[in-house]
Symmetry: C2
């Protein structure tokens, strides 16, 4: 099975309003509520692809209960560890007139040392069954900034390939623990390496400890610097849609390709096709299966010369 | 006891953000969550004043559970009727830089005919113990627009004075069932009567069926047209603060004065002092007790000549 870790799970709310007016009063015309957090999104896509996906991390309070109720209807196994605090909400307010989204993210509950210790026990036990693990998203208050580094080390000790998808200091610390794969977006990569030039920044990130760095280039696809070579996968032409969740779908594609032991170019094709099919899906975070099948043969992969 | 009815209860969320940026992404720095809906707010103030307050209405789903958990800590009795749907949320986003609030109101769950029938049974039984009843706020989807008219008629049949605080068509229908008291604000009154001149509009609202009309004039206090005379209660000078909940506190003051059998001028003093002390309170919807005690002797009541 493939394990995904979401320490700061979320109940993702979407409000549709006729038009966003700052300091105004809005009648919400549509409310959507779904289990969220990057690792949950990754697992949902893995489940849809037919993989056995297990989600762990932390959830608690009334929002955590709602999240787990909703999770029960999805093709993923719930191995979340309970916490006393209330799982955070995220809110996306969609302006129906313009399609623009305004985002609000709650900080999440403060996690106690005992809850973190209970999580580590669960994590260790799940690693024994895992073919790969994805460590995803922000850290809730109370969890030390080196938490991902610790989870990467434990995965390496268990012989399980670890993918790290986070940002800021947790990424900086985590990458030093030598994960198999990190997947920053352009902003995270620039923040980590100080460079906005994708190839240079990707190499710089590898030198910090990651075996492979896959960076998302938005509509230009994804770039992978691996021990076997450097490849870029590019979708055919521009697509219009909602990019929410495209990065999580790319992570699912990379993990799926890893456990299926595909060569790197094929893994990147799968990741790029899933990310693009997510942008095209009518519901944020889902992928459109017909678009995915249609895109697979139409992703272009080019090989770059190795770094000097 | 005093009964308050809230058919569309709400879990009231407040998000504090450093600054509201339309189409931006916001880290919420503070989250507040409290049981809400006008009738709940009225009952909370009544409880704080030492009255026995009972809240009924409809609540359900995870939000309804959270609401009832929070209600358990307040000096009010919970007689809410369960529904299958999820109680709505309201969200106030407070911009810390300017203090301005942007409001989002979910529509509420769709109520079935069976749930409405179950509510009516509870309502009838609670009316037998009630000294007064307040019917407050919007109607959730599924409840017919004449619902308040029906509740007013049943209260009259039970000999219980009924106060109606709603707007739009439910107010128009409800007032025709001859409640003892309606308490529209200036906008609601204008919408009902077509007049923005407070005294004229208040009289016009009385002619529609209400025995007494108390209209809030914002910082200029409140105006009451009663069978015994017409009075205006005015607070001493302008106050700065958050007007959220001031109307609900005024309703609590009117009910409190009614069951204490105070003459009209004293009821208005109580209502105006509570409303003003609510504007002054640091937390939206609470009233500041010291300000309330201080304001009581400083509210001015003037009598108007009867209508021609």
């Amino acid at each position: 099975m493939i394990l995904t870790v979401t320490l700061n799970t979320a109940l993702d709310l979407t409000y549709r309003v006729p038009a966003l007016v700052p300091h105004g009063s809005h009648r919400v015309t549509e409310v959507d509520e779904r289990p969220g957090g990057k690792g949950l999104n990754v697992a949902r896509v893995l489940g849809a692809l037919g993989h056995e996906a297990v989600v762990t991390g932390l959830a608690g309070g009334p929002n955590g209960e709602t999240l787990r109720d909703r999770l029960a209807g999805l093709p993923v196994r719930d191995a979340l560890v309970p916490v006393a605090g209330n799982t955070r909400r995220t809110l996306a307010v969609v302006d129906a007139a313009t399609g623009d989204t305004t985002q609000f993210n709650e900080p999440g509950p403060t996690v106690t040392p005992e809850e973190w210790a209970a999580f580590l026990t669960t994590y260790e036990s799940l690693l024994r069954e895992a073919e790969a693990v994805a460590l995803c998203g922000s850290l809730p208050p109370g969890i030390h900034v080196g938490a991902y580094a610790e989870l990467v080390r434990r995965a390496r000790a268990a012989g399980v390939p670890a993918l790290l998808d986070t940002s800021g200091e947790p990424l900086r610390r985590g990458i030093a623990a030598r994960p198999d794969l990190v997947k920053p977006n352009a902003d995270e990569l620039a923040q980590l390496t100080g460079s906005r030039e994708p190839l240079r920044a990707t190499h710089a990130a590898r030198r910090r400890g990651a075996r492979t760095v896959v960076s998302s280039l938005g509509p230009e696809g994804i770039l992978a610097a691996t021990p076997e070579g450097i490849w870029q996968a590019t979708p055919p032409g521009k697509v219009l849609g909602n990019p929410t969740g495209a990065g999580d779908s790319a992570v699912a594609g990379l993990l799926s390709g890893l456990v299926d032991a595909l060569p790197w170019p094929d893994r990147l094709v799968r990741a790029a096709a899933l990310a693009t099919a997510t942008v095209l899906a009518p519901t944020a975070g889902d992928f459109d299966r017909a678009s995915y099948e249609d895109l697979l043969p139409r992703i272009t992969v080019t090989e770059h010369a190795p770094a000097a």
